[in-house]
């Protein structure tokens, strides 16, 4: 019964495909977000245990098998905020590109960059 892993991997593939195959740069940023959250989902799936409770222990009961694994949670917490920060930088770069070249399609930008280099105005 490992189907949640397949969903995470499917989303990973979708995000990777979007980042490469989409021409629009904002769609690439959307694909990046999907890719990052899919990886976080995969890690968190590794932390689940059957009938386990939150990883908040009390002095009475510290049997580790009854609590969820806290290590992937801690690692993924920082990953989420790093995700939004990198999205912010990606959007800043997109805004500068749009202001300079007037388009968000990668082929249009590539040809305008090339014409800039051959004919520096």
């Amino acid at each position: 019964m490992n189907y949640p892993y397949w969903v995470a991997i499917g989303l990973l593939m979708l995000g990777l495909y979007t980042m490469i195959a989409q021409r629009n740069l904002l769609k690439k940023a959307v694909g990046m977000t999907i890719f990052q959250t899919a990886i976080i989902l995969f890690f968190l799936l590794l932390a689940v245990k059957r009938d386990a409770s939150l990883p908040i222990v009390s002095a009475a009961d510290v049997d580790p098998a009854r609590f969820m694994n806290p290590l992937p949670h801690a690692l993924m917490l920082t990953a989420i905020v790093v995700m939004v920060a990198t999205s912010g930088v990606a959007l800043a770069i997109l805004i500068r590109l749009y202001a300079r070249y007037g388009s968000l399609e990668e082929d249009v930008i590539a040809e305008r960059v090339a014409s800039d280099e051959t004919d520096p105005a």
Partner: protein, 145 residues
């Protein structure tokens, strides 16, 4: 520029909600030891309250309350607080980020508790400042407002 929302209901609700939400962020930071929460959650809630302020009450309200260079400085101060807590552990005789040797008049286990609290505060400041800066910069229109 993002205008003030047209509905008075939205404006009033946000005016009432924002201080409560910021108090909740402080609560999440302080109770991170006992319940789900901690520095990152408190920081993102704090940043989100300022974004909400801009969306409901207009960009000029946010510009009056937030001075962007000061915000950047606060964010850097948060990371500095984290590093200084680590260095203070060295001053007490331990390695970097060894909170049990913090120069506090409490037993070492309690000192680690307080060390966690200090660095979570630093993380909150850093994350909240980053969110506010991202929104302020991305939301500016071409005229620079």
């Amino acid at each position: 520029m993002i205008e003030r929302h047209a509905s008075v209901v939205v404006q009033t609700f946000v005016r009432v909600l924002t201080p409560l939400a910021q108090l909740f962020a402080l609560y999440v930071l302080a109770f991170g030891h006992y319940s789900p929460g901690g520095g990152f959650q408190a920081g993102v809630i704090l940043g989100a309250t300022y974004i909400l302020l801009a969306l409901a009450l207009g960009r000029d309200t946010l510009d009056r309350k937030v001075n962007q260079p000061v915000c950047v400085a606060l964010g850097a101060a948060g990371v500095l607080l984290y590093v200084l807590t680590g260095v203070a552990g060295m001053a007490g005789g331990g390695t970097f980020l060894d909170y049990s040797r913090l120069p506090l008049p409490v037993p070492p286990v309690r000192a680690r508790y307080f060390g966690i609290l200090f660095i979570e505060t630093g993380v909150t400041l850093g994350v909240a400042a980053t969110l506010i800066i991202l929104f302020c910069r991305l939301g500016e229109q071409e005229s620079g407002r």
